[in-house]
């Protein structure tokens, strides 16, 4: 222990050795790396669950798993992908990149940073352990609607609640750290409207997290009370209200959706300007668009609940407010296209993922717009059309944003260029399989297949088989990504400080060596 402290106190010789480097680290890069690897491992665990789901749905009938286990798989797949993959990956990217992008040596609150990471393996250890308990893990869907998740839940629901609490604490602490860092540690001259868009996207995201994570904690605490202490928040028999659960959950849940996409907006904006060799079009409107999306996200929650029986005025209000979100989102897409227009474009792997992001996220946006139309939503609601929609915004949306960011910054992090041929192969296999998997879901949904079904009618069989094939291909392809990342860490062509042609002018991170020094900026750079 004492040697570790001394190393940190005296010189800037780099990290401590061995396991203590990772357990006790307060370094933003080490913590970023931990977050990213955690998220990567979770991607394979959550992905394995998706493979179980798709194997069962490969053909009608019950072949591989029973419905009770199937429901545990859908629930945990959702929880892990949302809280264990997308969110930690973005926090990992923030840890790595925010200090480097704003010209700071580290995050503002390094010990808090360590704590927010190490809470996560605890939370997911608790959650995953329930799968090995006799009653099985949570089986009520990642949205855990009461009373299925209270009166009718397995006893392991208490572990689930505790784990959500711990995740919430981790997110809130992480957000406090990010906001503090951004407001206090920017290089002289970097005014708010000169901040890189990834920094802006995270500033807004961190505020969203601080606003809604307590709401999630509140709703699971109410569940805890209902289950163990005889209250009736959500129990109609005791005078409670099951719909209240949904209102509170989605008041958290909708901002959460944007928490999972805003940082990707930031990443993709950087990549598109880099490989178009042209500054981002409409920087100010990009910032305003993200802020509008964040504000609007607080007044659209009930569009997840159009069939619970709201008054007509309520249905119409939430339809209009949801449609409004299409405006800032559309502006962002137009800006990205305008950035490419009259650029000088090359197609390295991060750019390919970003182009796919713009195209496929827009498709997810269109289906979102269709879902906003209340009367039509009566037919779409809780079918595979919804599954297609949110997978289009989360996989080729959020996940592609993360993968693009990883390729974009990997040479900076490791000092080694990744293998471009393998990267392109990874892109094309991913791009094809993601569409084979999720596009036909629109069709089965429209044709009437409800979501969360372990077994289905015969008319959906062909498309389900196709979807499963696509899913297996998508899953296998990500092993290639793992291989590429490890290969890049171990070897590769030496990367220059600016890595990408002309990137040196685009952000402070490209002025540092590749790999960057352990304490990024020990002398604050001046921003003009």
């Amino acid at each position: 222990m004492s040697t570790v402290v001394e190393t940190h106190d005296h010189g800037h010789h780099g990290p401590a050795k061995g396991l203590s480097r990772w357990l006790f680290t307060t370094n933003h890069k080490d913590i970023g790396t931990l977050y990213l690897w955690f998220s990567f491992i979770m991607l394979f665990i959550g992905g394995a669950m998706a493979m179980v789901i798709r194997a069962e749905l490969f053909q009608p009938g019950l072949q591989i798993v029973q419905p009770e286990f199937f429901n545990q798989m859908t629930t945990n797949h959702g929880l892990i992908m949302v809280f264990g993959v997308i969110m930690p990956a973005f926090v990992g990217l923030a840890n790595w990149m925010l200090p480097m992008q704003i010209g700071a040596p580290d995050m503002a609150l390094p010990r808090l940073n360590n704590l927010s990471f190490w809470l996560l393996p605890m939370a997911f250890g608790i959650l995953l352990s329930t799968l090995f308990m006799p009653e099985g893990g949570p089986n009520f869907g990642w949205t855990f609607y009461a009373p299925l998740s209270t009166t009718y839940a397995p006893n392991t629901v208490n572990f689930f609640i505790f784990s959500v609490h711990v995740m919430g604490v981790s997110s809130i602490l992480g957000s406090i750290n990010i906001i503090t860092t951004i407001f206090n540690m920017r290089a002289p001259g970097m005014t708010l409207m000169k901040m890189p868009l990834f920094v802006w996207s995270w500033l807004i995201t961190a505020y969203l997290l601080i606003a809604v994570m307590p709401v999630l904690a509140g709703v699971v605490t109410m569940m805890l009370m209902d289950i163990n202490f005889g209250t009736s928040f959500f129990n109609a028999a005791g005078g409670g209200d099951p719909v209240l659960f949904q209102h509170v959950f989605w008041f958290f849940g909708h901002p959460e959706v944007y928490i999972m996409i805003l940082p990707a907006f930031g990443i993709v904006s950087h990549i598109i300007e880099t490989f178009s060799r042209k500054p981002i079009f409409g920087y100010a409107s990009m910032v305003y668009a993200m802020a509008s999306i964040a504000i609007l996200s607080f007044v659209v929650w009930a569009h997840h609940m159009f069939t619970v029986g709201m008054p007509l005025a309520g249905e119409l209000f939430f339809m209009y407010s949801t449609m409004l979100i299409a405006i800032p989102t559309g502006v962002k897409v137009f800006n990205w296209v305008a950035t490419m227009f009259r650029g000088s474009i090359t197609f390295e792997t991060p750019m390919l993922f970003s182009i796919a992001f713009v195209a496929l996220f827009t498709i997810g946006g269109f289906s979102g717009l269709m879902l906003a139309i209340v009367p039509a939503d009566f037919q779409y609601h809780d079918t595979y059309f919804v599954v297609a929609h949110f997978h289009y915004v989360l996989v080729p949306g959020a996940l592609f944003g993360i993968i693009a960011g990883a390729y974009y910054w990997l040479p900076k992090w490791t000092g080694n260029m990744y293998d471009e041929t393998l990267g392109k192969l990874h892109f094309w296999l991913t791009f094809i399989s993601v569409n084979v998997t999720f596009f036909p879901m629109h069709f089965v949904g429209l044709a009437g297949m409800p979501r969360r079904y372990p077994d289905y009618a015969l008319q959906f069989a062909d498309f389900n088989a196709l979807i499963s094939v696509g899913a297996f291909m998508f899953g296998l392809t990500q092993l290639l990504f793992l291989f590429i990342v490890i290969k890049t860490i171990r070897s590769g062509k030496q990367a220059k400080p600016e890595v990408w042609e002309g990137a040196g002018e685009l952000g402070l991170e490209w002025t540092l060596s590749s790999p960057p020094p352990y304490h990024s900026f020990t002398v604050q750079p001046q921003v003009k």
């Binding site: 009938g61 089986n139 009718y152 007509l312 000088s344």
Partner: protein, 383 residues
């Protein structure tokens, strides 16, 4: 390589939209929303197609500009980057344009919504109650009701016999409604939240315990319409389909008359003195329909979720607790309360059956439970 790229691009640009639209365009397509049979479902379909085509047009415009830019301004062809990074009027322009398109979408959406939303009373009012995992239908005017269970056999689900045409879309007793009549559905849940969906009527309403939601329809033509439960309600969420049979008014009246007569007969049965054999026979049928999906036809259950009844201490020696479980259910488990949903005769007969069936009759006390015992239990509880 260049040739493959060219072919691939052409395929993406030309073939995909054609394949897609040919799949989607035809009205009776298996890949598109159901047009349905009611006025509301048809206007929803038209609205869906309108929004879809608006999205397609916007998509084609945006993606054409994007892919054209990627093609035209690629560095490998010597493109040199321009140096502009905003354009005030362009940005105002497309924001206004997006807003106008949304208004264009919102107007018909609002019109259809107002038409679909109407909770006035119907000529016929039907109370729909979602149970784990079956639907109960009650005709409020005539005070008769019944359960509607999945009728697909477990063997079909397990793949032991070939699957039928209406696999998982068939029930033992469909809801029967008259044509050309305004029907109001009052929808609620008994245990967890379910959702009652019939695509052909464009009716989807959540069945929530403690709430009564309304929906309505008016079906112009006779037919059989199949739907599903669309809110995750537990293990058998996929196994509680909705089937509605719309018939001419005369046939409907005859159906209701039979139901009323049957209900009267049921009431008579409670006071009748039952023999063990009569109870056993009735109980076996009830067990096969309502219990065997979880506890299995051989009484072995699927432990630990669904306990075995064969060899169960309660089923062999504790008839009091046995009655209590059937009447009240078991909190925190999948076992529902049957007391309010079924007649005394049904409850008594299935208890008697499970106490005699398999090895329970030989090894247990073999107590026979009669409908009168259930009445007595109910009276005691009510005190």
């Amino acid at each position: 390589m260049a040739y493959i790229k060219k072919v691939f691009t052409k395929f993406i640009l030309i073939a995909m939209p054609i394949i897609y639209s040919s799949l989607v365009l035809s009205e009776d397509s298996d890949y598109n929303m159901k047009v349905g049979v009611t006025e509301v479902s048809q206007s929803i379909f038209d609205l869906h197609m309108l929004i879809f085509w608006i999205c397609v047009v916007i998509g084609v415009i945006v993606f054409s500009i994007m892919f054209w830019s990627l093609w035209k301004y690629r560095k490998s062809k010597g493109a040199v980057a321009a140096d502009f990074d905003d354009n005030f009027w362009l940005e105002i322009g497309w924001t206004v344009a997006a807003t106008l398109v949304l208004v264009w979408m919102a107007v018909p959406s609002t019109q259809v919504m107002v038409k679909a939303y109407d909770d006035a009373e119907g000529e016929i009012n039907i109370l729909i109650t979602g149970h784990q995992w079956k639907w109960h239908y009650e005709y409020l005017e005539d005070e008769v009701g019944f359960f509607s269970n999945l009728s697909t056999s477990q063997e079909q689900i397990n793949g032991e016999v070939p699957k039928g045409e209406f696999y998982l879309r068939e029930v033992d007793e469909p809801l029967v409604i008259p044509t050309n009549t305004r029907i109001r559905f009052l929808i609620t849940g008994n245990d967890v939240i379910h959702s009652w969906w019939v695509p052909d009527f464009a009716v989807k309403q959540d069945a929530i315990p403690g709430f009564i939601n309304t929906a309505w329809t008016n079906v112009p033509e006779p037919g059989i319409f199949r739907g599903a439960c669309t809110e995750l309600c537990g293990i058998k969420h996929a196994f509680m389909p909705v089937v509605v049979r719309a018939v001419e008014r005369e046939e409907f009246d005859a159906f209701i008359a039979t139901k009323v007569a049957l209900a009267e007969e049921e009431r008579m049965l409670t006071s009748k003195v039952w023999t063990k054999e009569e109870l056993m026979e009735r109980g076996e049928g009830f067990y096969a329909t309502n219990c065997s999906a979880c506890h299995q036809i051989n009484g072995k259950g699927i432990p630990p979720v669904f306990p075995a009844l064969d060899g169960s201490q309660i089923a062999m020696f504790d008839s009091k607790r046995h009655i209590e479980i059937l009447m009240e259910g078991v909190q925190g488990s999948a076992m529902a309360a049957f007391g309010d949903s079924y007649s005394e005769v049904d409850i008594a007969s299935v208890i008697t059956y499970t106490r005699q069936a398999w090895s329970n009759g030989e090894n247990g006390d073999g107590v026979i439970v009669t409908p009168q015992d259930i009445v007595a239990y109910k009276n005691r509880i009510d005190l």
